[in-house]
Amino acid sequence: MGIEKVIAAPAFDASEAQQRCAEFRLRILEMSQRVTALHMAPAFSCMEITDAIYSGLMHDDQQNKSSDTFIMSKGHGYLAQLVILESRGVIPISEINRYCTPEGILGAHPDLGTPGIAAATGSLGHGLGMSLGIAIAERNMAESREMLPGTVYVVLSDGELQEGSTWESIILASSLGVRNLVAVVDNNDYQSLGKTSETHPSLYPLAEKFESFGWEAATVDGHDSSAIVESISSRVGDRPFMLVAKTIKGKGVSFMENVPVWHYRSPSVEECAVAVAEITGR
């Protein structure tokens, strides 16, 4: 039974999504000129994923369904979420401008207590377990109120798939028959010391692994916003769902793409100008 499909997802326009994601990348580049260290390339990697979830999948319908939840398990993807929360008025512009300063409330990783943040992350391998707990609570609460349960969307990194705790939660989610849990792997194939597929070749291909552990799974281009929304919203929904999103770390800026140092480096004024020109197409 595809219970999550009962309520139709809002209309999703691919060209609008492309425009939004370009603006989000520009906003992050702008931030990069004020702080010395930020996770830019990991955010560019999951920009379309995060935007697709917020704009194309999460929706509030308090009458029939409890709220959806978003968790950035790869805490170093936080910038992608922050600029989206800013665009939605959840986090004020003034706070984004005080990012990583003692005057503000925002650090480099999601923190509980920050508006729009459902759980603190930053250490890898924690997000899926917490998401599972939230999904169970949502399911049981919805049952007692005769509503549909809110869906928990969680974004994982592919490096995080090397954490044993992630696999504890993967087998547990399927054993408990949790349906209102959707995980997306930001599969950019990079971790600090090289390619994830070279560190642990036997972990690949990914989708089959999740299927063999009782999840429904699919693979898409992680920078194709429509494909992400379509794949998740057309899931069967009788078990937890894992989307393997093939991405490029640093996507959108040629000199950042697949270059590890941009995991936390900030661009110089000149580099920033080149990056802005590439994103705006000028």
Binding site: G133, I136, R139, I171, L172
Partner: protein, 305 residues
């Protein structure tokens, strides 16, 4: 103690839909079985997966639930330590982590099953509370408190196994989180402090000292964090001799904290502490055998006082 904890929690869980019991492949004690059969959606066995046990508890608590994670102390606290720190304590969530068999109670199972530094480890984490009831009645009082409290973060609860007799039944001072309990009060000669299962040995030490003519004060500290520094400072100030008995490593438990408090408060009593050794002892036998091997036999202690 384990059985009374299970009875109390199951009884409260029937009434309170916020209570979840999350176990890691440990056989549910007595009344928990009936709870599991009636409310399977609120009894979760994660299997041998303690990190998931804590993560799931955090997620449940983020949605207003009151989860109890439950397994053997070493696996409840040590294996998922960073999950307890980040998911529970950093987010200050009201999750109780129940460690069965704290200390060296699993006396035949070897060092892998001995939680001899659990109080120090749990106490070191900001926001974390630590309690160690000494008998079934106290375990019930602690459980009632942990469910009824309206605020507060995670708590590590060290409990024994099964079959411990009640020793708090007749005492006038009730259990109160963060407070010491006075079993009886002497005239200022010697005060004995302990907690958890070691409290039973403390009763015997106190009895032996009383029989030899000493005037004894007997105090338990069921809450190790926050420690009742005011109550303990009063004991240090009003007795010529203070003795701490503890089934825990010498560092970071009650003994070292009372020493620190004595310094901080300029106490001038004679202070003696008896703890587990800072060693893995490859000794197998009864719980009493293990305590003796660590120098915590009643006769050995009394002989030094």
């Amino acid at each position: 103690m384990r059985l009374r904890f299970a009875e109390t929690l199951a009884r409260l869980a029937y009434e309170d839909p916020r209570i979840y019991i999350v176990v890691a492949d440990i056989s549910p004690a007595g009344p928990m079985v009936e709870f599991r059969d009636r409310f399977p959606e609120r009894f979760i066995n994660v299997g041998v997966a303690e990190q998931a046990m804590i993560g799931v508890c955090a997620g449940l608590a983020l949605r207003g639930m009151r989860p109890f994670a439950y397994t053997i102390a070493t696996f409840a606290l040590y294996r998922p330590f960073e999950f307890i720190r980040d998911d529970l304590a950093y987010q200050n969530l009201p999750v109780t982590v129940v460690g069965i068999g704290g200390g060296v109670i699993y006396s035949t199972l070897g060092g892998t099953h001995h939680a001899q530094e659990d109080v120090a480890i749990a106490s070191a984490i900001p926001n974390m509370g630590v309690v160690a009831p000494c008998d079934p009645d106290e375990a019930e009082a602690v459980t009632n408190y942990l469910v009824a409290r309206e605020s507060g973060g995670p708590v590590y609860m060290r409990i024994g196994k099964a079959g411990e007799p009640n020793i708090t039944s007749g005492i006038r001072s009730p259990f109160e989180f963060g407070k010491i309990r006075t079993f009886y009060r002497g005239t200022g000669d010697i005060a004995i402090l302990s907690y958890g299962l070691m409290m039973h040995e403390a009763v015997k030490v106190a009895d032996a000292l009383s029989a030899s003519g000493r005037s004894v004060t007997l105090v338990s500290t069921p809450t190790l964090k926050p420690l009742d520094t005011e109550g303990l400072a009063e004991i240090l100030a009003s007795h010529r001799n203070v003795v701490v008995l503890e089934e825990h490593a010498p560092q970071g438990g009650l003994a070292s904290q009372v020493k620190q408090l004595a310094w901080d408060t300029n106490a001038c009593c004679d202070l003696r502490t008896f703890t587990l050794k800072d060693e893995f002892i490859h000794c197998y036998g009864t719980h009493a055998d293990l305590l003796r091997a660590h120098g915590l036999g009643v006769r050995e202690i009394v002989g030094q006082l």
